[in-house]
Symmetry: C2
């Protein structure tokens, strides 16, 4: 099998055909028609075998997650997904691996109407780089920098289950099989909150996705906004699985670990009633966990009223280098 | 040094600040303003250490070439460069390496007005993925599919010097030091023919950049256009260095090896006088090497009139897998 047959066979069979793709895969570059009145929102993320996922991870899980983390970045901007490109470095052109990878990748791209418009494949260590593009109506992107003292802080979904999944894989935590499956699913197949991000346009004052842990990612919002915050730990949305092991694992998996891919956003008080009227449309759930304050720093307040200090701030790829 | 300091220190100090970048590096995604009346042209290419360049290659050469190969894809579409994103996997956050890499990368981005708008850095095997975006006026992208029988075939610059550079590195060829330097420069620092591509809008009927060798890349044009071609080997533009070793190395470096990053394009007869009037603006030179024909296949005609068969078609990353 040569490189070109490989590209044609696996990546040209994608499910989505968008009208705004004038030229897709197969020329030197793609030619695309951005819609009038919109801004382009662009992000990129890379997964490396042995760093972002264990060697031997199912190829479908790799394909799914590589795209999910990029979709999550668009979600955090309130953008609607449109196109993506793929850089894939592979030790060998293994057709079984490629079948699985494409199943995971296109299985997620399809429902979001996302079309693969270009890419590059090469022999090398297993590395997946995806670049994604979407749109927002002009001026409506959700930035990190808009939080104001008095704004409420919300998160979608549940926090910390992905971290519990990783603890299970590392044998730092034992769970019954059904619970193990559930948290591993949250680690390997996070659902990007794209529709939730779109609904937050015109509502949220700031937004970010939680990839490195609540403390680290909310910290980026606070830094960009020049503000501080208090979080009520008792208000954190924890799954039944997490609640059952809370005494054993503490707060760290929910506040200081990565891979949740939930949205954390801030909301001015005067828009609270608008959000509450829409809350039922957030199928993943929505929880107010704290408030933006003028005083710098992030305070995590225990139910007892004392301030909790997490063991670390989040994931850092080059710590200690 | 942590990952975020690394990004801030090295990649936030880029030379270009475009007015159409609303939000650049530092949020979950970039927010960009595509110009009205234009189509977006997007491409991506990846370089892997030990595959696309030898381990130990100077970091400036890696940074330069990673961007140059992407710019060359835009050039082949006739697009004007605007933005790029970077996925960088590095064994360690080595500041000396990063200094050199950024010097090569931004040294090329600057003159082309190209702004880095996002990226991802991680620990892992040395891999550089770049995704690039530019513009063409609506409907003016140069595709592979427009060549018609009777069109002339042109190439820019000189062919085969990059292949001679690789032969020198592999000790398959010996050259005096000044010539060695010149061909190695063509291998490591190809000049993307961006301005030449822009000038070809509205003129060329088809265009491609020569990354895998003339035979392979012109082959893509013929396949996409449903046509054949004849090339006069005596008409190939060869540098003085190549001409001096032509008897020793034959035609293969000029027709069946990669990395030239010159443009190969086709031109209808009625536009030949327009191109000739502009030829002086092609500083790299411009040479008519053959003609598109209805008969399928690519014929390389020796000065004697016999047909030459190259030893291979071009570079294939998964040959024999």
């Amino acid at each position: 099998m040569n490189e070109f047959e490989l590209i044609r066979d696996y990546f040209a069979r994608q499910p989505v055909r968008r009208a705004d793709v004038v030229v897709g895969i197969g020329d030197d570059a793609a030619v695309l028609d951005p819609p009038a009145g919109c801004q382009l929102v662009v992000s990129t993320d890379m997964l490396v075998s042995g760093v972002h996922f264990p060697e031997g991870t199912a190829p479908a899980a790799v394909g799914y997650k590589a795209l999910a983390v990029n979709l999550s970045d668009l979600a955090a901007m309130g953008a609607s997904p449109a196109w993506f490109t793929l850089n894939l470095s592979l030790p060998s052109a293994d057709s079984g691996w490629l079948e699985g990878f494409c199943a995971g990748l296109f299985g997620l791209a399809g429902p979001f109407g996302l079309q693969l418009v270009g890419g590059d494949t090469t022999r090398g260590p297993l590395t997946v780089g995806i670049q994604i593009a979407g749109f927002v109506p002009r001026g409506q992107a959700l930035l990190r920098s808009g939080a104001q003292p008095g704004d409420s802080i919300y998160v979608t979904g549940w926090l910390g289950d992905a971290a519990l999944g990783l603890m299970c894989l590392r044998q730092e935590l034992r769970l019954p099989e059904a619970e193990w499956d559930r948290v591993l699913q949250r680690l390997e197949r996070p659902v990007p909150r794209v529709h939730e991000g779109e609904m937050l346009r015109g509502l949220a004052s700031a937004c970010i996705d939680i990839s490195d842990g609540l403390v680290a990612d909310l910290g980026h919002v606070l830094e960009a906004s020049g503000a501080g915050a208090s979080i009520e730990l008792a208000a954190l949305p924890l799954s039944p699985v997490y609640q059952a092991v809370r005494d054993q694992v503490g707060w760290n998996p929910a506040v200081a670990r990565g891979d949740d891919y939930e949205l954390c956003f801030t909301l001015p008080a005067q828009r609270q009633s608008v959000l509450e009227a829409q809350a039922a449309r957030f199928g993943c759930g929505l929880r107010r966990i704290g408030v933006i304050e003028a005083q710098p720093g992030l305070r995590l307040v225990e139910p007892s009223g004392s301030v909790y200090r997490p063991d670390r701030q989040g994931y850092d790829h080059f710590r200690g280098v």
